[in-house]
């Protein structure tokens, strides 16, 4: 390919990412399953990078899981989203940063629908006013939290104490990157790098010393599928999708998986436990699982945060082997402590020590 042509294509998949004065909206899934990741995101943004990130106490779920479970009419979800924007407006912010990929996709879809069907925007304005008395303006910039770390990946690297490098061999760790489907599959131009070659996690991994694993099912869904996981009778859909990915990545012997969606790391972590119990199969090295991380957790590790402060103890697949490989110190005795060193019970052992 002619270099100019390649650059022109790449330019289509660059996006403007706001770098300060950010309005943060939390994720239902990430708050429940990876609370330490959101804490770590805000700690890095405020304390390490010195940015203004605001959170409004009255914001709620975007309603995306309800929408994609087909429970909520489009008008309801549009109006809930409009209320989020109204809260942002009254706080004096213009740059929206969702923690969740489902939310990011939903905000993007709704703004696109309002653009192409202006009558839906007018209806939303009317319904929000009628329901709450509120008015709203559309954000100037919508960037997922992983976009923001992509933008600051070199600054994070410069302040890091560790790299994604095997301290015993000096070689880069082999990293699988998994992008949430709703990041760029619906609107490729809204994601860094588009849908086929999203660069948002690749950029972080490479600048933090790691090496990306390319494998056949790299773009396959983790299998959440909303109703396909939430209802027990449908759950075979979910585990089968994750299994397809594990089978595809295993020959490449990845050291770890990094994700930008809150749901994907939960499924890729928990389905490894389920598959080990169901089939007696594990996908990592030395009879262990493949550790799965959120991008916030990986950034926190690179910066030298205590692994238990960022929440790695909530993962089913253990992280100790990769911490040892990188050379990150940790105190095993404190893994399951509560606040202020309070001693708690420990999890029951699974059949396989992943």
């Amino acid at each position: 390919m002619i270099l100019e042509g390649k650059k022109a294509i790449w330019n289509d998949y660059q996006k403007e990412i706001a770098d300060d004065k950010l309005y943060y909206v939390r994720s239902c899934v990430r708050q429940n399953f990876f609370p330490g990741a959101e804490t770590t995101f805000l700690r890095i943004m405020r304390e390490v990078l010195g940015k203004d990130v605001f959170e409004h106490p009255c914001h709620t779920s975007c309603s995306g899981i309800g929408y994609h479970s087909d429970l909520l009419p489009l008008e309801t979800t549009m109006t809930v989203v409009a209320r989020q924007f109204s809260l942002m407006n009254e706080s004096g912010y213009k740059n929206l940063v969702p923690s969740c990929i489902t939310s990011f996709g939903l905000y993007t879809e709704i703004m696109d629908t309002w653009h192409h069907f202006p009558e839906t925007l007018e209806k939303t304005r009317k319904q929000l006013k009628e329901a709450t008395g509120r008015t709203f303006e559309i954000p100037e910039n919508v960037s997922h939290a992983s976009d923001v770390f992509y933008k600051f990946r070199k600054e994070i690297a410069a302040k890091s104490q560790f790299k994604l490098i095997n301290k015993h061999t000096g070689k880069p760790l082999k990293v699988v990157e998994h992008i949430g489907c709703h990041y760029a599959k619906m609107f490729p131009s809204k994601g860094v790098g588009g849908a086929e070659y999203p660069h948002v996690l690749v950029g972080m991994v490479e600048d933090w010393g790691g090496e990306i694993v390319d494998y056949p099912e790299r773009r396959h869904c983790c299998g959440f599928g909303f109703r396909q996981y939430l209802v027990s009778a449908n759950r075979g859909y979910s585990v089968t999708s994750s299994r397809k990915k594990f089978e595809s990545m295993q020959p490449y012997q990845p050291d770890m998986i990094i994700t930008n969606c809150p749901g994907c790391p939960m499924f890729l972590d928990k389905w490894q436990y389920t598959l080990s119990e169901m089939e007696g199969k594990v996908y990592g090295k030395d009879g262990r699982g493949i550790p799965v991380f959120t991008f916030e957790e990986v950034a926190g590790l690179m910066l030298g945060f205590d692994p238990w402060d960022i929440g790695l103890q909530v993962h089913q697949v253990g992280c100790e082997a990769i911490l040892d490989k990188i050379g990150i110190p940790y105190d095993p005795a404190k893994k399951y402590d509560g606040p202020d060193g309070k001693k708690l019970s420990k999890p029951m052992a699974a059949t396989f020590n992943l």
């Binding site: 008008e75 709450t132 619906m186 599928g225 859909y237 397809k244 909530v314 029951m348």
Partner: protein, 236 residues
């Protein structure tokens, strides 16, 4: 009888999702659901393009429309810019409006989803609620999740959360005035009407099926729709 194609066409998801489909089948090739279920998204487009009212009615009453996981992988691949995932959202919406969803066992699952996801969003402001997602309903969450649930106040406090607290933070209590706004939005925009429709049609179906259904989560009908698949839904 309603012209179902015309009804569907009023939905902006249909207008965005279906232009002229040439039936190339790329959506089916990429679709995770097509690999698992007896599901072919290409045929969804074909059926709707036929504008055959009886065929569309059968589709709205079918298991087929409930197989999609709304991952939207089809959007990326379609050479004509169609999105079967969006068409599916429009079909499921109309199926619930017309009460057809209870004609399929996958469609009947909407009552369970309404009573968890819908209830949590309306009452708590979150689509997921920590105390409702235990390993009794989600056993694959495993022993670490059991440990978190047993120690949730301490574990969440350790990780900087503000569980059910005032102000900002992870899993904070959404203030009453904010919840009042959400509830007003649900009423004004049709979500409450849809919830009532799901309850009403499900109650009639439970009677037909001779299964007990009450306001709790512990009854025969809820247990049945949450766990049972009597038909073979698997890919051929």
């Amino acid at each position: 009888m309603d012209n179902l194609f015309e009804k569907l066409s009023k939905d902006v998801r249909m207008q965005e999702g279906l232009h002229a489909c040439m039936n190339c089948g790329v959506c089916t090739a990429i679709c995770p659901a097509a690999e698992i279920y007896n599901y072919d998204p290409r045929i969804i487009c074909d059926t709707i393009q036929s504008r055959d009212n009886d065929e569309i009615e059968a589709l709205l009453k079918s298991e087929t429309i409930w197989y999609c996981g709304e991952c939207m992988s089809c959007k990326t691949r379609c050479p004509r810019g169609n999105t079967v995932g969006l068409i599916i959202i429009a079909l499921r919406s109309l199926s619930q409006e017309l009460g057809y969803f209870a004609e399929s066992e996958k469609g009947r699952q909407q009552l369970f989803l309404k009573r968890v996801i819908g209830h949590w969003m309306l009452e708590k402001g979150y689509c997921l609620y920590l105390e409702g997602i235990g390993t009794d309903l989600y056993p694959e969450q495993g022993p670490v999740w059991d440990w978190i649930q047993e120690n949730y106040r301490d574990v969440f406090a350790r990780l900087g959360a503000n569980y059910q607290g005032d102000g900002t933070g992870i899993l904070r209590k959404i203030p009453d005035e904010a919840m009042a706004e959400i509830q007003s939005i649900f009423k004004t925009t049709g979500a409450i009407d849809r919830f009532e429709q799901i309850e009403k049609v499900s109650t009639e179906k439970a009677k037909q099926m001779n299964l007990k259904l009450d306001d709790t989560m512990a009854n025969e009908y809820i247990g049945h729709i949450y766990t049972q698949t009597e038909k073979n839904h698997n890919a051929l």
